[in-house]
Each structure stands twice: as structure tokens, then as C-alpha cells.
């Protein structure tokens, strides 16, 4: 029985790390621009494929490959903002249009990945094969790396938002765009950097995802949707909530997978979402209108 609990906890940690990285990027975009980025799963997919290509084809060590993918993803984030968000954000129904445009881009990226990397399963090599023994229990090193990456980046993002000039600019634009412009902040530039940062977080999520499971061109959407559930569950207002939500949903998913079977865990997660929506919608909509 304790074996079962340990294996559930380990996969909950990995899933929670993945979801917290995905959801914090989504949350950043959502709170700053008020739009949902359906192409976030596509960013994750591209990040994973870049890391895979750099390590498998170019022969770089995995960590270096990850480092090399980060600036690429940041550029893609800025590009995404330019083509899929900038043209629509000020139109009537802009949020709907951004959703459709990012969905279209996600679809196009899926096709492109299919063409470039083929439909085969790809997996990024683990950084380390070392295991940590705690009594009877062995914990694989990559689990700890995932957890460390998620905690460092999400808490780092919180600190950035709180302490740096960039963070203040982001929060200023989020709270009052016009006032922010009056004090000399350029919202367009803030939006671009927000997308770049979110894309880098998606790249880190890709690292966690690609080292723990196989990737195919169709696999970007699943973590995206669960990350959205996390966002709702934890409340989109604070990144602490996102962290708590991510690991709770990770635990729920790992538990249902273990006890009910793989195909039931998304059903359980989405049913929980619907229940939250019915019981506590005000927590979700509070402070924001669209």
C-alpha cells in the first residue's frame, strides 16, 4: 500500500510541476491582457521538440539543449503576440477573436510539427539517472529536478512581478492601462515581454513534459487544458493559488489514474472543474470582467 502512495505522490509531483509551469504562463497572459492563449500548448510542443532536436540531433547535453531552446521560445512568444493578439485586442469581441486566432495557430503548429518531426514518439533523455533513497522508497532524480524547476521559476516570477521595474510595469498595465501610459509605460512593449516570459515558462514545462513522457505532435493540448483547470481551481489572481492548484490537480490526476484507470482521470479532473464552477463561480470572475 505504501508503494502505491509513493508512486502516486511521485507522479503528482511531476504533474504538479508541469501544470504549475504551464498555468503560471497562462495566468500571466490572462491577468495582463485578459485573453486566453490556446497556442500555449503549441509553445510547449515546440519547446519539447527544440530540446529534443538540440540534444538528439545536435548532440548537446540535455541541460544545454534546454538553455538553447529558451531564447528561441522567447522569440516565438513575441511573434505570437504580434500576429495573434496585437491585431485583435482592441477590436470589439477581441477576446473571442484572440481565442480563435490562437486556436488556429495551435492547429497550424500541430501540422508543422507533424511535417518537421513526424508522428513518431519522441522522448528527451533524462538529465540524471540518479535515485535518492529514503528508507525503502527510491525517488528518481528527474522528479526532484522537475519540482525544483517549477518552484524556482514560479516563485522567481512572483519575485520579478513584485520587485522589478518590469514587474511593476506589468502590474500597472494590468490594473489601469491608461494610467500606466500616462506615467510613460508602453503597454505594447509590456505585452510583448509578457508573452516572451510566458513562452519561456512553457519551455520549462516542455522540459518537464519531454523528459517524463513521450511527445507527439498531437500532445500539446492535454497539458494546456489541465493547466486551464488549474487556473480555475487555484484562482487566477495569485501565483500561490496556481501552485497549490497545480499540485492538487496533479494529485487528483495521479490518484484517479492509479485507482480508476488512465482514461478516467481527465473525466474526473473536468468534473471537478464543473463542480467548482457551479459552487464558486464568484471566486473565478471576481475583480475581472470581459
Amino acid at each position: 500500500m505504501s508503494d502505491a502512495i509513493v508512486s502516486i505522490l511521485v507522479s503528482a509531483i511531476v504533474l504538479g510541476s508541469l501544470y504549475s509551469l504551464m498555468a503560471s504562463g497562462l495566468s500571466l497572459i490572462w491577468s495582463t491582457l485578459g485573453v486566453f492563449n490556446y497556442a500555449h500548448g503549441a509553445l510547449l510542443l515546440l519547446g519539447a521538440y527544440f530540446i529534443w532536436t538540440f540534444s538528439e540531433k545536435a548532440g548537446l547535453p540535455v541541460l544545454l539543449a534546454f538553455a538553447a531552446a529558451i531564447p528561441l521560445l522567447a522569440l516565438l512568444g513575441i511573434l505570437l503576440d504580434l500576429v495573434a493578439v496585437r491585431p485583435f485586442i482592441s477590436r470589439p469581441n477581441g477576446t473571442l477573436l484572440v481565442m480563435v486566432s490562437t486556436l488556429a495557430i495551435a492547429n497550424a503548429v500541430e501540422g508543422a510539427a507533424q511535417m518537421i518531426w513526424g508522428p513518431q514518439n519522441r522522448q528527451i533523455d533524462a538529465v540524471t539517472t540518479a535515485t535518492l533513497s529514503l528508507g525503502d522508497v527510491k525517488i528518481v532524480g528527474s522528479t526532484l529536478i522537475s519540482l525544483g524547476l517549477a518552484l524556482v521559476l514560479v516563485i522567481g516570477l512572483m519575485t520579478l512581478l513584485r520587485k522589478t521595474e518590469w514587474g511593476m510595469a506589468v502590474r500597472a498595465v494590468e490594473q489601469n492601462r491608461d494610467m500606466a501610459m500616462l506615467v510613460g509605460i508602453r503597454p505594447a512593449r509590456v505585452y510583448g515581454t509578457v508573452f516572451a516570459v510566458a513562452a519561456v515558462l512553457a519551455c520549462a514545462a516542455a522540459f518537464v513534459y519531454g523528459t517524463t513522457t513521450t511527445i507527439t505532435p498531437t500532445k500539446g493540448f492535454e497539458p494546456l487544458l489541465t493547466a486551464f483547470v488549474v487556473l480555475v481551481f487555484g484562482g487566477s489572481a495569485t501565483l500561490w493559488g496556481t501552485l497549490v492548484g497545480a499540485f492538487t490537480i496533479g494529485l487528483l490526476e495521479a490518484g484517479t489514474t492509479y485507482w480508476l484507470g488512465l482514461q478516467w482521470s481527465p473525466v474526473a479532473v473536468f468534473l471537478v472543474l464543473v463542480l467548482i464552477m457551479l459552487i464558486r463561480p464568484q471566486g473565478l470572475v471576481k475583480g475581472r470582467s470581459s
Partner: protein
Amino acid sequence: MNRLGSLKRLGTWPLLAVAAALLPYVVVSGSARLLAVTALIYALLAASWNLTLGIGGIFNFAHVGFFGVGGYAMAVSTVTWHFNPWLGLLLGSVAGGLAGALAYLPVIRMRGIYIALITFVFVQLCYYLVLAIPGITGGSSGLTGVPALTLGDFSFAKYSGLGYLWLLGGAVVLLLLLLKATLRSPFGKSLIALRDNEHLAVSRGMNRVRQHLLAFILSGAIAGVTGALYVAYFRVADVTLFSFGFVTLGLSMIFLGGTSHIWGPVLGALIVTVIDRQLTDLGPMRAIIIGVGTLLVLIFLPNGISGLLEDVWNRARRLLPKKQSRLGDKMNSPELKEASHVR
């Protein structure tokens, strides 16, 4: 010009009905009929989707789910329970309507982007539920061997789907008539009022939840029948009914055609289906072209083709010297005014 005017007074609806009746004589070859049937099914899907998305202004992404639920209702009732396929169609519409009601429940108190996300999740939930209960739905391999629709001894699948062409052509005309009637009815007007100025509409005594619930049920029921027809034609139901590709394809049809006219999505569906057919041999390239094409349409054609045509038509008319007929013509097309995004 005069003859054109008298034709217009006759109305476009009988013309459309005649066109639907003559369709099988124009579209003769098997592959062309397959394309035409597919286009008509998509037309039904896109036009009924527009009832909530464009006319209602609700960010509903669950429509593909209603379509899939209707399709599965057809497949399960005919393959597993051996029901008559016509009863399957009826069950498809009931199931689609129920799915519409169910999808609306969690979003009653939501606005905009949240509705889009939750309704999107609804489609995913359908997808995973189908996989989770393979005993009923056939799981990932789907349900095959759905019987074709028959009328006496005549099978609709005969002569490369002659019966389906008539049935679907008639259904599209009927749906356009139904949508037109809806737009003119107090119900349709209340939907538009709620879309354009919710606070005012509610303060004048409109019940937002009830009207939107009705819109979901109505458009869900139509999507359910459409899904059932799709399954009855292709004789198979599988999880691709709930796939992302379907959602993107449907949205690209609506936005290419334009949401401001009831015939916009139909036009968009016909165009996208034909383009999509040309792209099937390209494999993954198809997804790229559809995706990028959708993006370009969104950027450069904000009102879709129907908006563009209306624009061109209005400009062309302004060039004509006949000033007095303009007013008369405008009064003759109330749906034009009703459906436009006047704020």
C-alpha cells in the same frame, strides 16, 4: 434591372428550394456528391452554431460537442440497440438539445472568455467520456455499421447518396428559413438585444438565462440532428467527432463566412469544405494552411465574406442613380438591419 427586381420580390427562398431539389442533377459523380454532402453537413453545423455564437453573442465553443453527442446517439441507438435510423435522428436531436442544456448550466453566471473556456472543456469531456465507456461507445475504435436511412425500399445511400443530397439540401433551406423566422420572432430579437446591450435588455424585463438556455437547446438540437445525419451518411461514429480539428474547421467556416448574416456561415462552410477537399492530399500541410488561412481571414476580413459582399453591394448601389428605390429596398430587408452589429 426590372426583371431582377421582380425576381427579388418573388423571394430567394423558393429559388433556394429549387436549387436544393436540382442539386443531384448538377452534382453527378460520386466524389462530387461526397463533397456536396460534406459541405451541406458543415453548412448545417456552422449555421446552427451561429445562433449562439454570432446572433446570441455567446462565446460558445461546445457546439462541436453537441454535434458529436447527436452522432453518438444515432450510432449507439442503431448499432447497439437496433433502433430504426429515423428514430436515431430524433434521438440525435434530443441528445443534442440535452447536451446544449447541460453545457449551459456551468456557464450560467459566466461572461465572455470564461464561457468559451468552459464550453471548450465540455467538448474535451465528451471526448474522454467516449473513451472511458468503450462498452457503449466502442472506445477508440468507434462504432461501425450504422445503417443507412431508408424510405420504404429506397436507401438514401443509393446512387452515391442521392437521398442524402436531397435531405441535406432541404435541411439547409429549412434551417435558413427557421433562423430567419427566429431572427424576426420576439425570441430572436431578445437574443440580439441581450447581445448588444445586456443591461438595457435585462432592465426591460428580459430573462437572460432563460433566453440563452433556449438558444443553447435549440442550436444543440440542430447540431445533434446534423451529427446524426453525418453518422448516418458516413456509417461510423468515432472520437474524431470531438476533435480539435473539427472545432477549428467549424470556427474558420463561421468567421470566413461572417457572423452578421444567417447565410454567412453557410457560405463559409461551402467554401472551406471545397478548399479543405483540395488540401486532403497534402497531409499535415492542410492543418497549416487552414490555420494560417483562418488567421489571415480574421486579420484582413473582420466581417467575413458576407460582410464584404454587403459592403460591396452597398457601394455598388450608391453608384447607381436610382435614389428612391434604395429606401424601399432597405425596408424590404429587415433581417439585414436586425442582424447587423449595431451598438
